[in-house]
């Protein structure tokens, strides 16, 4: 089977990003990594590869700077990488269209994605990609089980009401949630091997019907600062405050 995993280059988790003058982001000292949710998707693909054999291809949409994240992803075990060479100004539907073109060329059985990217938190692209391909999808997976013949996936999804189990017949798209697995650290041999793995670049002008950019961030601002809280001396004081506020 063939698995395509979408990855995004995002600021390192827990980086503190500030707003510069003019409402832009101050990104000078920020380090980047693979979006943590996409890392879960990569891990899941490698586990499927190890347990039943599969070719795993990682794909991203972005400039030359994304090479490093593709290398880190391949160091975990995937076989090769594809980068659609595009600028940063694309909107989520355009990125989904780039990924759909890659999926059409590669014809994978399964596309795995993170459930959201920790930078813009839009959580739009995977569902858009599934729609563009006309494929079924399963969102926020905490467990993926493939049938012995590899044709059907039973997916446990984390939903607001608890857990929901759905069945998708491949080809299908599944997004990874936190409890799907625990991503491995790349080994040193893995990192060395990744450098020799193929990395294909698809020029953006090869993407058919990518359309106009119709969604863009026009400015960032910080949240209004919160006044410092009050430190309480003991439970008595807390009870007093709760009664004052008529919460008890």
């Amino acid at each position: 089977m063939k698995i395509l995993v979408t990855v995004k280059r995002t600021p390192q988790r827990d980086s503190r990003i500030n707003v510069a003058s003019g409402g832009t982001l101050a990104m000078e000292s920020i380090e980047f990594e693979i979006n943590p949710f996409d890392e879960l998707a990569v891990e899941e693909a490698i586990r499927l590869k190890e347990s039943r054999g599969a070719e795993v291809v990682v794909v991203t949409v972005g400039g030359e700077v994304c090479r490093r994240q593709l290398l880190s992803a391949m160091a975990m075990g995937p076989d090769r990488a594809i980068r659609v060479d595009a600028g940063e100004a694309l909107d989520s539907l355009q990125i989904a269209k780039c990924l759909a073109e890659v999926a059409r060329r590669e014809a994978p059985d399964l596309v795995l994605s993170g459930k959201l990217a920790i930078d813009d938190e839009g959580a739009q692209i995977p569902a858009m990609l599934a729609a563009l391909l006309g494929w079924p999808q399963a969102n926020q997976a905490s467990k993926i089980e493939l049938s012995p013949d590899g044709k059907v996936a039973e997916v446990v999804c984390e939903v607001d009401a608890g857990l929901e189990t759905v069945e998708v017949t491949l080809p299908a798209l599944v997004t990874a949630d936190l409890r799907l697995n625990e991503p491995r650290y790349a080994s040193l041999p893995g990192i060395m091997k990744a450098k020799k793995k193929p990395m294909e670049v698809i020029p953006f002008d090869e993407i058919p019907d990518s359309g106009a950019t119709r969604s863009a961030v026009i400015g960032y601002r910080a949240l209004p600062p919160k006044p410092p809280g009050r430190s309480l001396g003991g439970v008595d004081e807390l009870v007093e405050i709760l009664s004052e506020k008529k919460l008890i």
Binding site: E121, L129, V159, D160, E167, K226, G229, R230, I248
Partner: protein
């Protein structure tokens, strides 16, 4: 073309504050565009819910029933919206952020080939061909103004940031719509849903939330204390990722980037450190009280009131002090 549609469903449970917030979001959009607001309920609902939704001052309440919408799948719900808007024109189609809207709304946007905004905090402006929404980014640390261009767009809203519309005496007409084509995807099947039964209020609807962090030590150690405190308050119980990952509580109790966004009158954070992923799900709470023995815990940066104390001493004392006051 300046009309607005609020989509909801399936609605077998009673209409919630989150559903009403979605109507409030639609109302604020229609007020800016000068158009009318309609509600579209996908799938099964109850007569009580119909009665609740016809008193919100909207132009029409549409009910779309279809064999493929009886149990929710993203594929069928997206196809239903696409089929519905073939005969109706809207400038913005909105819904409340939820695990289902997170999957079927972007799917709908791609099928309609229109842009979308996720988890909107506020509407900055709405003009023909252009909408600007505020949306939180970087784990809720920053706000971004997102501009969408074109005659139609989709948007999900954050329930805690929008108010339910005022109830009006006037009754909106209920219109049943039918779609003859199949809506489901032949390669997708709903298998089963499982949820933990609880007599406590729904996490996203509760006035008071008592949340437990790793400090509770385990399901038999601190959890009973947290639950007892919640019951005295008539509160919902929440949890951090660590507590859910450890298997001490089910996933639907998790508050944060993964999990639910809550904004109750009172949020009691018990033995939780306050990782930004958790804070992004409870930051908008009216009053935040934190109890943690570690004075350096970041939860104290967002708490209105902080008590540096071991929860195994503080919570029993609190239960004793307020137990009498409540009963």
């Amino acid at each position: 073309m300046s009309d607005v549609l609020t989509v909801m469903g399936p609605l077998l449970r009673p209409v919630s504050n989150s559903d009403l917030a979605a109507v409030g979001f639609g109302e604020s959009l229609a007020a800016r565009s000068g158009g009318a607001l309609d509600i579209l309920i996908l799938g099964p609902t109850t007569e009580d819910n119909e009665r609740a939704l016809v008193h919100l001052g909207v132009r029409n309440v549409y009910l779309l029933r279809h064999a493929d919408l009886e149990s929710y799948t993203a594929e069928a719900y997206a196809s239903a919206v696409v089929a519905f808007v073939k005969d109706h024109r809207y400038q913005v189609i909105g819904a409340v952020s939820s695990s289902s809207a997170r999957e079927f709304f972007p799917r709908t946007a791609a099928m309609l080939d229109v842009p979308m905004a996720s988890d909107v905090f506020a509407v900055e402006s709405l003009e023909p061909e252009r909408a600007v929404f505020t949306h939180a980014v970087f784990v809720g640390n920053l706000l971004a103004a997102v501009e969408l261009r074109g005659p139609m767009s989709l948007a999900t809203c954050r329930a805690s940031e929008f108010q339910a519309p005022k109830r009006v005496e006037q009754v909106s007409p209920v219109r049943r719509v039918t779609v003859s084509e199949a809506l489901g995807h032949e390669r997708k099947r709903f298998v089963a849903a499982s949820r933990t039964q609880s007599a406590r209020p729904e996490l996203t609807e509760a006035e008071i939330v008592v949340s437990a962090g790793r400090g509770i030590k385990g399901p038999d150690e601190g959890l009973p204390l947290v639950e007892k405190l919640a019951d005295i308050f008539g509160a919902a119980v929440g949890a951090t990722r660590a507590v859910v990952d450890a298997g001490w509580m089910p996933n639907e109790y998790q508050v944060g980037q993964t999990g639910k966004v809550v904004a109750p009158q009172l949020y009691l954070a018990i033995g939780l450190s306050g990782a930004i992923q958790h804070v992004s799900g409870m930051r908008s709470s009216r009053t935040i009280v934190a109890i943690n023995k570690d004075p350096e815990a970041p939860i104290f940066d967002v708490a209105d009131y902080g008590l540096v104390m071991d929860l195994f001493e503080a919570v029993p004392e609190l239960i004793q002090a307020i137990g009498g006051a409540r009963h």
